[in-house]
């Protein structure tokens, strides 16, 4: 008993610097930002409190509302797209194809690149005057049109494309390692029963990949909230606000528009939305762990 207490106090002392760092750096800066969102700070922090005025203004700003809508569209399609494409890629590599290592490298390669590079590459490819559209027209199809990137209604989907292109490789790697962990005998049993391969993947393999896919979607969703560089490099938020995202709105207001108060309000809303999305998930995990503990 005595020894146990001593050990835990040693652990506490060892963890103290981490605790201090966590409290002052992570929580402290967060509290500081939230505090600023209730002030009328412009270029410098001010301590003139204005209540919820910045939030009211934020939700009157059409650019911010557009950015929320965009990040929702992008988030859902990007995560779903990455998971679907990543799983299909993993399944096809799992068929013991030749040059598997090479394909794996090729598919994972985009993930190793910066979003800025991805954005620039896709910007060139999608530009109607010298990208895919121009190349296909040069081959003779004069009426071929692929100008999503300059269309208000479609531009956000080009961001989704570029995002999936970059992120699918990660899902593929995680899913593939999950598939390799599934026993050979399940395959044999299913094949004896004469079940087609696609059906095995869908009904037997996929359910067992739950944890792997959950981990991938967690990683991808965190990327969604942070999306900034991809949009800046690909479309600059345009045409109009059609591809604006919250992170970009916050950065613009922080530096270019010298509006610390409004930017902090935006950042606070973003943090809150993450907390609201993550909290039920954490709570469920906690309850499950407790139930297990009780048994």
């Amino acid at each position: 008993m005595q020894a146990k207490r001593r050990r835990s106090s040693a652990a506490t002392i060892a963890l103290l610097p981490t605790w201090i760092a966590a409290i002052f750096i992570y929580i402290g800066t967060m509290v500081w930002s939230v505090r600023l969102s209730f002030t009328d700070s412009t270029i410098f922090p001010s301590s003139n409190y204005v209540g919820f005025a910045q939030y009211a203004r934020l939700f009157r700003t059409s650019r911010w509302l557009a950015s929320l809508e965009n990040v929702l569209i992008f988030g859902v399609l990007y995560v779903a797209g990455c998971l679907a494409l990543g799983f299909v890629l993993a399944a096809s590599l799992d068929r013991k194809v030749r040059f598997e290592a090479m394909f794996r490298t090729i598919f994972l390669y985009p993930y190793a690149m910066s979003f800025v590079v991805t954005g620039l590459i896709w910007q060139w490819m999608l530009n109607p005057t010298f990208g895919i559209q121009a190349s296909v027209r040069a081959l003779g199809w004069q009426n071929f049109a692929f100008d999503w990137i300059v269309s208000r209604d479609m531009a956000i989907y080009t961001v989704v494309f570029a995002g999936i292109w970059q992120g699918a490789g990660l899902v593929m790697v995680i899913a593939l390692s999950g598939m390799r962990g599934i026993g050979e005998e399940q395959w044999k049993a299913a094949q004896i029963d004469g079940i087609p391969v696609w059906r095995i993947y869908l009904s037997i393999i996929l359910p067992q990949l739950g944890p792997a896919l959950a981990a991938s979607s967690m990683l991808l969703s965190m990327g969604v909230i942070k999306t900034y560089d991809l949009v800046v490099a690909l479309t600059g938020g345009g045409p109009g606000f059609s591809t604006e995202v919250p992170a970009k709105f916050i950065m613009d207001n922080l530096f270019e528009r010298q509006n610390l108060g409004l930017a902090s309000a935006g950042a606070t809303v973003l943090v809150l939305s993450v907390v609201m999305a993550v909290a039920p998930f954490r709570y469920a995990l906690y309850m499950r762990a407790r139930r297990k503990g009780a048994q």
Binding site: T42, P128, F130, V150, R152, T235, G236, P239, G240, E256
Partner: protein, 410 residues
């Protein structure tokens, strides 16, 4: 012996104290700008050389990118270690610094140099806060230029510069018919709002323009002017190519240089690109103000001087303010940067046709400030947003657009 030693030590200490004091006599500056591109750096070098010729010690701390330089400056200011001088755009952005007591006034230099006599009054007002001069202007940029390729104009059969918007659109039609892209459009919001402003100036005149931006006037004349402006802006959409969204201004200028497009709306910094491509103003390309324009929209650069206690730095600030406003330096600087001197009493003979036109308008007072000079950064940003939204949405009508325009001042 001991005393002698002490004396010697004291002497050495005194000498050591005196030696740097001698170096401190020299005015010293550390200058932070975002002027890092070829032409800009060459222009800054003009000031540096004159500064050194007059006995100053120069240290360059320039950072590429306007926003990056501003962010670095703000960080150093907050940390209590500001540079001696910072390039800054005339206008609202400096008011915060002045009100926080972070900048030092240069009223004595201004008085000694008789700035009040050689600067247009509107400029003098812009560099003064609370009745004191704080900024030392370096040069103005005209923003409401329409650059056109003389070649494409000739091929399309346009013999002279269009005088009205109707003639202008007729010319664009001719350009289209001759097979070139009529307008080289820069598809970023800041570029689009420059076009908005140049059209607005043609529709409401100088007084109307100032009334809208300075007094936030929503009267009938102002609203009608904004509506007409949006109509003209909307009409331009038909003359722009599909690749325009997001296009940089220099890529648009390249379209003019290579003869792929007819006209570009841009500030006079575009001349730097023409010069680099070996094109001559008035011969290969022309510059006109937007049709029916009673004047020019301008934006201007200056140096601001953070408050410092070091006497050498203070001397450096005074000397830099003096050098930047020297008539010969102003001309040399403008030639390299493509801008217009701020002083009205300089030797005009060296300037190209476009700069001469600009200087003439400036000395006649036929100028209106850019939004950076007259709006808060927040409002200027909202203006960019507004124009960008309007431009990219062809179904928006000008009446509801005008309503949204006046909402940016709230």
């Amino acid at each position: 012996m001991k005393n002698k030693m002490k004396l010697l030590l004291a002497g050495a200490a005194l000498f050591a104290a005196l030696a740097p004091a001698h170096a401190e006599d020299k005015p010293k500056v550390e200058v932070m700008t975002s002027w890092t591109s070829g032409g800009e750096a060459a222009a800054l070098d003009v000031i540096k050389q004159e500064f050194e010729k007059r006995g100053g010690v120069w240290k360059d701390s320039s950072i590429a990118g306007f926003g990056a330089a501003d962010a670095a400056f703000q960080n150093r200011l907050v940390a209590g270690d500001p540079p001696t001088a910072k390039q800054s755009v005339l206008g609202f952005a400096n008011a915060d610094f002045v009100n926080q007591g972070l900048l030092s006034p240069i009223g004595e230099v201004a008085k000694a140099g008789k700035w009040a006599d050689v600067l247009p009054k509107s400029i003098l007002d812009l560099i003064s806060y609370n009745g004191q001069v704080y900024l030392s202007p370096t040069g103005a940029h005209g923003e409401s230029w329409v650059f056109y390729s003389k070649d494409t104009f000739a091929k399309a059969g346009i013999s002279e510069e269009p005088k009205s918007w109707d003639e202008f659109f007729a010319a664009l039609d001719k350009l289209k018919a001759s097979g070139v892209q009529p307008v080289a459009w820069g598809g970023q919001s800041w570029q689009e709002s420059k076009v908005f402003n140049m059209i607005l100036l043609t529709q409401v005149g100088i007084d109307g323009f100032l009334k809208i931006y300075a007094d936030k006037d929503k009267g009938e004349a102002s609203t009608a002017g904004v509506k007409k402006t949006l109509d003209i802006l909307g009409k331009l959409r038909a003359y722009v190519d599909a690749g325009a969204p997001g296009r940089n201004w220099n890529d648009a200028t390249a379209m003019i240089i290579s003869g792929k497009a007819g006209v570009q709306f841009m500030g006079d910094w575009a001349k730097g690109e023409f010069i680099a491509a070996g094109k001559e103003a008035g011969k290969d390309y022309g510059c006109m103000l937007a049709p029916q324009s009673p004047g020019m929209v301008y934006v201007a650069d200056s140096f601001s001087f953070p408050k410092l206690t070091d006497p050498a730095a203070q001397k450096g600030q005074a000397l830099l303010a003096e050098v930047a406003m020297d008539p010969a330096v102003q001309v040399e600087f403008s030639l390299k940067k493509g801008s217009v001197p701020m002083r009205t009493d300089v030797d005009k003979s060296k300037l190209d046709v476009c700069a001469q036109k600009g200087l003439e308008l400036m000395s006649e007072g036929k100028i209106v400030p850019d939004q950076a000079l007259i709006l808060s950064p927040q409002q200027a940003g909202a203006l960019n947003d507004f124009v960008d939204e309007f431009w990219s949405n062809p179904s928006e009508d000008s009446a509801s657009g005008a309503e949204k325009f006046f909402a940016i001042f709230e």
